[in-house]
């Protein structure tokens, strides 16, 4: 089932690449249809998922040998965390593919790269093999490189190059760490995540273990991105086409935080715990840095991009708090981890929506300059409504998804690192200010005459945003259905330490 969810978009990409007869409309229909397949399959897995106590950690498992001499195999399976992330990714991909796009005369290639990226992104969340994880980690870079370079605007080629090189550096640091980890295993080479989690090949804070952990953390920090490794993010976002930005923020950034939980957190718990505090400090710096720098941006997309640094900082803060082996605080750690995972989901939906909206602004006005807009509330009410809702969700208004996540993260962190949580809260204040001023500049005040005919959201755009934002509201108002599933995973992950 999971295998099919990974392979169907890849197959779709292959078909699109060779189906020379297909034109804009046909390619688009095909891509939307194909990208709906994994969503359906994952919903089916979700329905069958057993989140009760005593259920196996990984479900829907399948295994096919690939390179036995290195003990690499096609191993797929999900726990509550990866299932929730994969489902969110599948939904966001469907939305981004359906989003009306400027394909510049190359519709087949555009949709093929999107489907390719969907396949590898889902693959990353669904595999249980460390090497396959790396394979998908790297392939996601290739897909995004071509999407940004070919369909971006401004200095797209440069931005794509910077993105690829920067993140490849991260992924190679990660590769060295993987090799360091598997070579330390006493039972010979294996890349099976389940075995490595049980085995805990590296413990303590010796030089070797510390270096391996550093490799993992640097690799993931570049991808997440955490301060000071975030500098590739704004340029990649600003020059990428809207839907690609949504995927970059909504799905690709999650690979870093998901990897952090799945690999160093779970496979070298003791070492991770020893370095949880420095990680938490870096997270808080990212929270504040992201928020403050975002506040200073006059470019719509840059501003949203920096809030990603801020929001991923919350996630990492939650992960760091959950990883600290403070005795007797298991409940708080579990809460922090659940919050971190919910933050990933919420950020994916909210920021995905925000970047799609930014794409809509570009398609209408060919500029991201906040000062160029104003007073749009009257001419484009639907656009205004969607943006206001997404912005409020992003700044953590109660009743919306962001609040659920941030509340749990901070509640959990207060028990572990009270002062870190206290400083981190300042970030929320700044975020509130920056989103409110953004809304003010875009939609209120005098309407510049050139925008008096600005078209409102179209039918497809409206539908995509509606689905994403309805989910944001549903998670905000009634999060229990999501929390039970995620909790089932974080209880095991935290309890394993």
């Amino acid at each position: 089932m999971l295998t099919l969810a990974i392979l169907s978009p890849l197959l779709g990409a292959l078909i699109l690449a060779f189906a020379t007869g297909l034109h804009e409309r046909g390619a688009r229909m095909l891509a939307v249809a194909v990208s709906a397949v994994p969503l359906v399959l994952l919903v089916a897995v979700w329905i069958g998922f057993d989140a009760g106590p005593g259920a196996p950690q990984f479900q829907a498992v399948a295994e096919v040998p690939w390179v036995p001499s290195l003990d690499v195999a096609w191993r797929v399976g999900v726990d509550g965390m990866s299932l929730a992330l994969a489902l969110m990714s599948a939904l966001l991909f469907l939305g981004s593919i359906a989003w009306p796009a400027e394909t510049r005369g190359r519709p087949r290639a555009y949709y093929a790269w999107f489907l390719f990226l969907e396949g590898v992104s889902l693959g990353l969340f669904l595999v249980l093999d460390l090497l396959l994880f790396y394979v998908f980690f790297d392939l996601s870079l290739v897909g995004m490189y071509f999407l940004i370079g070919r369909w971006g605007h401004g200095e797209a080629e440069r931005a794509a190059l910077k993105f690829f090189i920067y993140t490849l550096a991260g992924s190679l640091a990660f590769l060295l760490a993987i090799l360091g980890l598997v070579l330390a295993s006493p039972q010979g080479l294996t890349f099976d995540m389940r075995v490595l989690i049980d085995m805990q090949p590296l413990t303590g804070t010796g030089l070797y273990a510390s270096l391996v952990l550093l490799g993992f953390l640097v690799g993931f920090a570049i991808k997440t991105p955490l301060f000071p490794f975030h500098t590739w993010l704004p340029s990649a976002h600003v020059d990428a086409p809207g839907p690609a930005s949504a995927i970059l923020a909504g799905v690709l950034l999650k690979m870093g935080t998901y990897g952090m939980v799945r690999i160093p957190f779970s496979m070298m718990t003791e070492t991770f715990a020893a370095y949880a505090l420095p990680l938490g400090i870096v997270a808080v710096i990212s929270i504040l840095w992201g928020a403050i720098v975002a506040f200073g941006q006059g470019n719509l997309k840059r501003r949203i991009a920096y809030t990603s640094v801020n929001h991923m900082g919350y996630t990492v803060l939650g992960i760091a708090a959950a990883g600290a082996l403070v005795s007797g605080e298991a409940a708080a750690r579990e809460l922090a981890l659940t919050g971190a995972v919910v933050e990933m989901i919420a950020h994916g939906l909210i920021t995905g929506a925000l970047f799609l909206i930014a794409g809509a602004f570009w398609q209408r006005g060919e500029t991201y300059d906040l000062d160029a807009y104003g007073g749009l509330a009257a001419t484009a009410p639907r656009l205004t409504g969607a943006t206001v809702l997404a912005a409020f969700a992003s700044l953590g208004l109660p009743g919306l998804a962001g609040f659920v996540a941030e509340f749990q993260i901070f509640a959990g962190t207060f028990a572990i690192y009270p002062w870190l949580a206290g400083i981190g809260l300042i970030g929320i204040l700044i975020t509130a200010a920056l989103f409110l001023t953004m809304l003010q500049q875009l939609f209120f005040g005098p309407l510049p005459p050139r925008w008096s005919k600005l078209p409102d959201l179209g039918r497809t755009e409206g539908a995509v945003l509606a689905v994403l934002l309805v989910l944001v509201v549903v998670i905000g108002v009634y999060p229990a259905w999501l929390l039970t599933v995620i909790d089932s995973a974080s209880a095991v992950i935290v309890g394993a330490g």
Partner: protein, 470 residues
Amino acid sequence: MPVGDILPEIVLILTAVAVLLTASFTPHRLQWIGAVLALAGLAVAGALTAGQIGAHRLTFSGTWALDGASIYARLMILAATAFCVVLTPRWLATDKRHGEYYAILLFSALGALVLAAAADLLELVMGVLLSSVTGYTLAAWHRDWGLSVEAGMKYFLVGALANVILLIGVALMTGMLGGFGFADLAPALAAPGAASPLLLLGVALVVIGLSFKLGAVPAHAWMPDVAEGAPAPAAAFLTVVPKIGAAIALARLVSLVPPDALAIRPVVAVLSVATMTLGNLAALWQDDVRRLIGWSSVSQSGYALMAVVVVSFSGDALSALLAFLTAYAVGNLAAFAVVTHLRGRTDRADYAGLARTRPLAAAVLILAFLSLVGIPPLVGFFGKLVLFVATIDGGYAWLAAVAVANTVASLFYYLRVVGPMVFEGDDARRPAVLGRWTAGAVLAGGVLTIALGLAAEPGLAAFGAARLLP
């Protein structure tokens, strides 16, 4: 005399002679028959070599090694040579000496085969010389074209110097150890009191002499010139085939030296770092695609040397070397196949828009480059993966870290070619191509790049069983 043990090599010599005779007696338009003959000879030699799989012995009085390393390396050499033969006929169709080319090519391949199997210092020298002398000819084949002559000349000058250094090293080693055969050298090297600065110098000089064939620092300077100036099919051959032989010869030589007797491994490690770094830095702003591939082959030699460094420390080192050489050969040959198919076009700007005008060639070039970087699941990824595993396992984690940094840098210059190919040149015209032979080679290169990655298991399993003699 166990003539059967060198039957593949004998077949190759006979084929070369037959090609030469055919070339003398066929009209110019039928000279391509030489290519067919060469392919047939290579196929027979390949089948005979494949029959040797599993053998593990020294033969011909200890001068010739039949072990996993030599057998797989020779198979690789034969396959790579066959690939280069396929690239040639249309390229040389107007050349008056078309037919002879295949004879020289086969002799050059023979030199590489000798290198891969040599278990004797003099045998080694013979292999280097045979491979070099024919190599100069191949590089300067277009004798009316300045760049080609320049490439041949540089190749020759660097080679002459390197060969002399090799001979001095061999003389020193023999003088200090009292023998030529590796089977005698190994115990002599391990004997207490054998180590001396002079002996270290001797071994180091042999290493440097071999680094010429490998295209590694300090004798690498010919590589970019040959890549640019030699006929494109010959450039493909010269950047790949001698390198396979030389890498195995180096591994065999280094494995003779006990780790605590002579500090030869640090020397190789330094050469490795210098080679990969220099190759990458020189390629960084290169605007000539063929020179760029040449410099990238220099840096790839540096990675290959990593496996040589840990050859006695990690049980996986030899299989890593073989896997990496396979991956490198596939990637580099695929890249040169594209260049040849596009009639040798070499200016980076001329590649703009290729993804639209020649999608197949562009796709294969992108695959080849990404494979050389080591992007999964292409064959290059597995080459680098097992290489890093062996290097870290052998206690040279810092070397792996340097290689990683270099890999990141290398992505930059590959993307400087890929970027314009895909993102620019909306008004580019469709470039002329060479023909069906090269189109087939391009396709085969692309398929191999993917297929050998997805089906890496048989290769890795076979290489894992390979051992080095003595």
